[in-house]
Structure formats: structure tokens, C-alpha cells
């Protein structure tokens, strides 16, 4: 046997996360991802996935870049490189956005939060060094980019995440989805400030916690001591985000793709649509007005055979697309996929065929997400 997707060139040095030993002590199987040794699973992807959907899972996402942009006019300057309305972000509010190449291609996806100090930006681990170089090149010199390498990032995700976290860090239950703030953890005489947002990448309610690396293990231990919480690996993180219809950069998005093709039109804010003035705005606004030539869509798969990244998608004899993420969806109980499908074939309900090992399998364009989101939105009825 051999794993078909195992072959990858190894970087010169694979780095360790602050919680490396902690993961191994918890029985994690470690793999190389984004230049780090990371836990792919502990007890098993299926069990970890279901646990997160029903309880709360703790994910170490410290490989991601945590950047702080400071200096007068940082929001306005960043708007040249992203299509979101960043200058309108009120303190404690966050927004999903996309880092754009000069031609409007997507260089990364990111979370941007208006923090008291400046803009707190979380970027993907695999491209964080490229992002920093790109931001430095295109942002004015007055804007300082601080890579907060001394901080770990933990995500606590699932319907019971709030119950567990508020016991450890009082007050976090006051946050709504896509809000963030400073909270104090530990003894009142010497509390540790934590930057916590109510956000995540599983489709469930949950939090992301920026903690000094020196305190990450203590926090992880306290969280895992809560009855609702188990550590969860990258494997389940991937199946959870796929069910939630959330794209994975480097797979479902890349520099050849623009935000409209990536079905991320929601990330192009109303004011920015009216005003333009960001990289690739002509291409992006044209795609918005006339429809993109291809589009990222969800695909439900007939039968049980997973359809994975790289599989070609056909309408009859003609290839009309390609799968960019696919696998078995534990909460759906069937294979699901996402991929780019050409205009004319990508309407919801369109029936196509994916080719797997020379065989055709029926796939149907389906609305995303595959599993409903359960975010704690402000004003939503719960």
C-alpha cells in the first residue's frame, strides 16, 4: 500500500509548535503541515469530528500567522490590497477578507480584526511569510507589521465551547459571532490577558484564543480538563471545514482565482463595490456584474466512493471543472466535495460526473454549507 498524497518535498527545517510535546503526550500522530510538525489526529478523525459537532474540540492553530498592523491609516492602506470595508470596522469587530494580487488573484484568505492597538490579522500558516513580504512591499513604510511569533493560537469549537471556555475565562459568553476582545485569565492578582474572538473554521459556534506561547500549555491543559473538551487534529479540522463549505487556501483558492470565482463575493463590501480602488477591482467588479467564467461550488457525491482533489469533472464528454477538496463527510455520512465548475454547468442541482481512477461517478452541484452553520449571531433567535 502507499498513500497517493503522501509525497511532498520537505522543507529544510520543519518547525515545532509551542505545544509540540503536549500533542505527543496526548497521543497525537504528527505530520508535516505548513512547515510545522502538527497533530493530524489523536483518537481518530471520525470520532474527533463527531465530538466537535456535539461537544467542543480544541485545535492548535499556532502555525497560522498572527500579525499586528499599526500606524496611522493602516485600515485605509490595507484596503488597496483587500476588497473588504476595513476602515468601517469598529473596535472589537472582525471580517473575513482576501489578500489580492495586483491582477485580483487571491494570495491568501484572512481574518482582520479592529483591535485597540491596530489591525490584528490572522493568515494561513503555509503562506504567512509570503504574505508578510507582500504586505511590507505594498503597505506604506509608516505602517508597522509585527509578526507576533511569541503567541500561540488555540481554537475551541463546538456547541459546548462556550460552556467550557466561560468557566476558564469568565465573560467570553458576552461575545457574538465575529466579535473579539481582551479577556483576563488566571488569578486576579496576576491575570494573563488573552485576545479572544468568537469565530472559527468548523461551522460551529466557538472561539479563537491568542495566548502567549509561554502560557499555551497551561491554557490547553485547563481547557482539556473541562468535560466538554477533547484535543482535535488537523484531519477533523479539514473534514469539519469542508462540511461547513469553507474554502482551504492553496486548494480551493489560489493566485489564479479571483474572489468572485471563489464564491466569496460576500467579502467584497458594498462601499468597495461602489468605489473600486483595490487590486484587480476591474476584473473583480466585472465578474461580479457579469458572472464569473467558473465558480467554486459544493458537490454531493452519489454512492460511497470519495471524490478527491484533482479529479476532473465532466458534462458528457466535455470537462467542465475540477475538484479542489473532497472526502468523506462524517456528519453527512457520505462523500462530499468542492470544486471549480464552468459557467453554464454550475447552477445548484446540475448533475455532472467526476472521474476517479478511470471511472465516472455522478455528482450534483449542491448549495453550501453541507452541514448548517451554528454561529452565535447577534440578533439571531436561539
Amino acid at each position: 500500500m502507499s498513500e497517493e498524497d503522501e509525497f511532498e518535498l520537505e522543507p529544510i527545517e520543519i518547525l515545532e509548535l509551542p505545544l509540540d510535546t503536549w500533542h505527543r503526550d496526548k497521543g497525537a500522530r504528527m505530520v508535516e503541515f505548513a512547515g510545522y510538525h502538527m497533530p493530524i489526529q489523536y483518537e481518530g478523525i471520525m470520532a474527533e469530528h463527531i465530538w466537535t459537532r456535539e461537544n467542543a474540540g480544541l485545535f492548535d492553530v499556532s502555525h497560522m500567522g498572527q500579525l499586528m498592523l499599526t500606524g496611522d491609516g493602516a485600515a485605509e492602506a490595507l484596503e488597496a490590497l483587500v476588497p473588504g470595508d476595513i476602515s468601517a470596522l469598529k473596535e472589537g469587530k472582525m471580517r473575513y477578507s482576501l489578500l489580492l494580487a495586483e491582477d485580483g488573484g487571491v494570495l491568501d484568505d484572512m481574518m482582520i480584526t479592529a483591535a485597540p492597538m491596530g489591525l490584528y490579522v490572522v493568515v494561513n500558516g503555509a503562506v504567512k511569510w509570503d504574505d508578510m513580504g507582500y504586505l511590507r512591499e505594498y503597505l506604506p513604510d509608516e505602517i508597522t507589521i509585527n509578526n507576533m511569533e511569541d503567541r500561540a493560537l488555540l481554537a475551541l469549537q463546538g456547541p459546548k465551547a462556550v460552556d467550557a471556555l466561560k468557566r476558564v475565562v469568565p465573560g467570553v459568553d458576552a461575545l457574538f459571532f465575529m466579535e473579539a476582545g481582551l479577556f483576563f485569565w488566571g488569578p486576579q492578582t496576576d491575570p494573563e490577558p488573552l485576545w479572544i474572538s468568537r469565530s472559527g473554521y468548523t461551522g460551529e459556534d466557538g472561539f479563537e484564543i491568542s495566548v502567549p506561547a509561554s502560557h499555551a500549555q497551561k491554557l490547553a491543559d485547563q481547557l482539556c480538563a473541562q468535560p466538554e473538551v477533547k484535543p482535535i487534529g488537523l484531519g477533523a479540522r479539514d473534514s469539519l471545514r469542508l462540511e461547513a463549505g469553507l474554502p482551504l487556501y492553496g486548494h480551493d483558492m489560489n493566485p489564479d482565482i479571483d474572489p468572485i470565482e471563489a464564491s466569496a463575493a460576500f467579502a467584497v463590501s458594498k462601499r468597495r463595490r461602489a468605489e473600486g480602488g483595490f487590486f484587480g477591482s476591474d476584473r473583480i467588479l466585472n465578474a461580479l456584474a457579469n458572472g464569473p467564467a467558473r465558480k467554486l461550488v459544493g458537490l454531493s457525491v452519489e454512492g460511497k466512493m470519495p471524490v478527491r482533489e484533482g479529479a476532473a469533472v465532466f458534462a458528457g464528454a466535455a470537462q467542465v471543472g475540477v475538484i479542489t477538496s473532497g472526502g468523506f463527510a462524517p456528519s453527512v455520512g457520505a462523500p462530499i466535495a468542492m470544486g471549480y465548475i464552468d459557467a453554464g454547468h454550475n447552477a445548484t442541482g446540475s448533475t455532472l460526473e467526476a472521474e476517479v481512477r478511470g471511472k465516472r461517478v455522478s455528482v450534483t452541484v449542491s448549495s453550501l454549507p453541507f452541514v448548517p452553520h451554528h454561529y452565535h449571531r447577534k440578533g439571531a433567535q436561539t
Binding site: 500500500m1 497517493e4 481518530g44 484531519g235 466512493m305 478527491r308
Partner: protein, 123 residues
């Protein structure tokens, strides 16, 4: 009956000139939750070391190779409805296919149980 093992983590249990093939307990533990298995069709001709079957975990698809050359007598139909048999009973009910061996001398290059255990312990 004698059981042999490959360094690709297949097992083959030989009974005269026919044999049953599956993946080892070590292999299933490395793969994790099995969600799909594709077994060869009856009558298919397999070449030693060639692709014979596919096993898919949540994470990835992997090939199962033919430990020896031969002709497929039967694929394990039970895996279609219950691929997790490969996890729960990899060296029993979770078998992949049965073949008629075309050259029993090919068995000479395979490991016995003790040699395979030593091989896995060294990984």
C-alpha cells in the same frame, strides 16, 4: 495454510494454489477510519506488486498491491456495505480478495509472521 506478509503491509493466506489477501492490522491503524474499499472484479488478472484494490480513509486514498500474481476468484462484497470491517477485523472478515496463484514460487520473497513483526517494529 500459511500466512505471508509484504513490506507494503498486505497479508496473504495461502491454501494450496489459492489464497486470501488483505491489509495488516498495522496498515489499518496507520490509515485510520476506512470509509471506502474497492475490490477487484472476479476474473481480473493481477501481477505481483501491481495495483489490486483501493482503500480510502477519511484522509486519503491508498492502493493495495497484489502480493503475488494470479487471477481473482472473488472480491469481498461485504466491504461495500461495511468498509469499517477493515478497521475492526483487518486480518479476518476485512479481507479484500481471493486469488488463484499463477506462480507459487513468488511466495518465497514474502515475509513470515515473525519477519513481518520485526519489520513493523523497526518502522
Amino acid at each position: 495454510m500459511t500466512r505471508y506478509f509484504t513490506d507494503d503491509h498486505e497479508w496473504i493466506e495461502v491454501d494450496g494454489d489459492s489464497a486470501t489477501v488483505g491489509i495488516t492490522d498495522y496498515a489499518q491503524s496507520q490509515l485510520g477510519d476506512i470509509v471506502f474499499a474497492e475490490v477487484p472484479a472476479t476474473g481480473a488478472t493481477l501481477k505481483k506488486g501491481g495495483d489490486a484494490a483501493v482503500v480510502e480513509s477519511v484522509k486519503a486514498a491508498s492502493d493495495v498491491y497484489a502480493p503475488v500474481s494470479g487471477t481473482v476468484i472473488e472480491g469481498n462484497g461485504a466491504l461495500e456495505g461495511d468498509p469499517a470491517l477493515v478497521n475492526s477485523d483487518p486480518e479476518g472478515e476485512g479481507w479484500f480478495f481471493k486469488i488463484t496463484l499463477s506462480d507459487t514460487s513468488e511466495l518465497d520473497s514474502l515475509m513470515d509472521a515473525a519477519a513481518y513483526k520485526a519489520f513493523v517494529d523497526g518502522l
